[in-house]
Subunit: 359 residues, 2 copies
């Protein structure tokens, strides 16, 4: 089959790789309907994190189950499924605590599972899914109850469903981690796909003032469509001053940090009001440290992390299918899998917010 392989910084190739096969009773094989490029995929693409040897890449996909292992009970051949960006059993203590990204038996796409077998990355034609009962969520269209059914998922739903594999759940996690309550004021740092989804999430949770921090006209427009009531184009001290002006001089109740750099985290912390909370989901690849003293002095909390989106899919899925939320709009470019290199380049050069790939 064909799959994307990163060889080095800015060297993305679509190559023929071995077809996946069922290796344990817990497995499923999923034929990928759509995959995409994540902002975090740009870290190795840009060489900020090193690529020591060629390896498969991509961790967001949706598709149709082609085969299942003997022990799989909740997934059937023919099901349309959403995969979160990681593998989890959905039953261990951490999963039960809502932190399936810390699953005691879990793993990551494009690397070996805990039994030593390779779990394909998401940007390919097929994926071997370990722990299929825990990992995959079946899409059942509204009003059809829980019975198994094979009606095709509408093509118009594909982008929104794909967004549930990562960015929508990740934006939601920022809002949940920050503790967004109805009527509150929320500032969102970052206008990538996750930041834009965080705006959707803040509005969905009842925030009434949503400040999008964005410098790009197209993203500002999408932010407003998603629910932003204000846009702040300034950064640094000017950006903080602008947020203060919009919040009675004290700062935002909640700030959603969706970038992962030292600058964005500082921006987020300093945009929060005393007693406010920063919900952060930007992957800190450069591992910034948080200065404790300003947090302490102002009672600003910091909560979040790698988003346990598996647990959010069922909650958000009905709103995607009904059109109540439209996270699929973050995909502003669609390419065949064979053009994955161009997908990376388009996102790297900010010609696209997020690229959907069709095998």
């Amino acid at each position: 089959m064909l799959a994307t392989v990163i060889h080095a910084a800015r060297d993305i190739r679509v190559e023929t790789v071995p077809d996946p096969v069922i290796t344990t009773g817990d497995d499923a094989i999923v034929k990928v309907v759509a995959a995409c490029v994540c902002g975090s995929d740009l870290w190795p693409y840009r060489g900020i994190t090193p690529t020591h040897e060629p390896h498969r890449i991509g961790h967001e996909f949706i598709g149709i189950v082609e085969a299942i292992g003997d022990d799989v009970v909740s997934i059937n051949v023919g099901d349309f499924v959403i995969a979160p960006f990681y593998v989890c059993d959905n039953t261990c203590a951490n999963c039960r605590n809502g932190v399936s990204t810390s699953c005691l038996n879990g793993g990551w796409w494009g690397s070996n599972d805990q039994k030593g077998a390779f779990a394909d990355a998401g940007q390919g034609e097929r994926v071997r899914v370990p722990l299929a009962d825990g990992t995959l969520v079946v899409v059942r269209r509204q009003g059809q109850g829980h019975e198994h059914e094979h009606e095709p998922v509408l093509d118009e739903h594909v982008p929104g469903l794909l967004a549930l594999s990562d960015v929508m759940g990740t934006g939601h996690h920022a809002a949940v981690s920050a503790g967004v309550q109805p009527g509150e004021t929320v500032a969102v740092v970052g206008d990538g796909a996750v930041g834009l989804c965080a705006i959707i999430a803040a509005k969905r949770l009842g925030a009434t003032t949503i400040i999008a921090m964005s410098r790009h006209a197209d993203r500002q427009a999408l932010a407003r469509r998603f629910g932003a009531t204000h846009v702040v184009a300034e950064r640094g001290a000017d950006g903080i001053a602008a947020v203060r002006r919009l919040t009675g001089g004290i700062g935002a109740d909640r700030v959603l940090e969706c970038v992962g750099t030292k600058e964005s985290m500082d921006q987020a912390i300093r945009s929060a009001r005393p007693g406010g909370m920063v919900g952060y989901v930007g992957a800190p690849y450069v591992a910034p440290e948080l200065p404790l003293r300003p947090l302490f002095n102002a009672n600003v909390g910091v909560n979040g992390g790698v988003a346990p989106v598996r647990g959010y899919i069922e909650e958000l899925l009905p709103d995607v299918l009904s059109g109540a939320i439209e996270p699929g709009r973050v995909f502003d470019l669609e390419l065949p899998l064979a053009e994955a290199a161009e997908a990376y380049a388009a996102m790297d050069e900010r010609r696209a917010i997020k690229v959907l790939l069709r095998p």
Copy 2:
């Protein structure tokens, strides 16, 4: 009048200073019934924070109102009052948000208020209290409604009431910031007065497993009396392993950090389970930085800061007066104000957990 003055590291003197006088209509003069030494007073005492010139010290006191300014409406001469460890108006936006330590008009004992007049420190015979209506809480004994009354506060209540000026509210803030819920497992890092009060708070909020991290037999005993179900004497990796053994291998739901050093914060973060929350109130005088990556990977949040105890006094006061909670037991030494130097030495040398001073 007499008041405590710090001249340099380990140089505490009780000296004659000017009697306070009413300087604005918002003021009250309080005759101090009891004051105490805070763990944070030990930072300048030990020379960890420098003392550039002699200055008044102490920020925890209770007493009786001797005089009020013309504009004071909720406080009367003769009232028995609790002062939080700071000045606040209790009406500004930050106070209304529950963060009175960030009061827009507030200040700190032993320094000038925002109008430029000196607010005495707490370890003295009298204190000028700015913003008296906002700062002070009147002690009204149970069952007597809101009417003004002059019945004397029982002497047995003095330590407990004094604890409400800082340590009990601060321990409570750690628990509230961590989001302690009924039935949860809570680990407490630090066995000083605040850590011990955090145990009281965790139990009061319904935690059913409370792990006190303490190496001192007397403090372990008090921790158990306050509600600790387990004591862990180990620190570092051994301490974390012990907490894991008590928590099904994953760590505590909530960890209350009540010290303020890099070591204690690391201990707290690494003792929390994935998705857990560290509530921290230890003053970070040495300003440790938080490593973001382990927090991100495990979705461990960090929330807390300088505790807005003013807002907690009314909530906790009935439980102190009824004996439901006994934070006054953290005072294991009582001395006359004249012996303040010995009070500091006793706490510095860990001969006392916390010292109550009587003018």
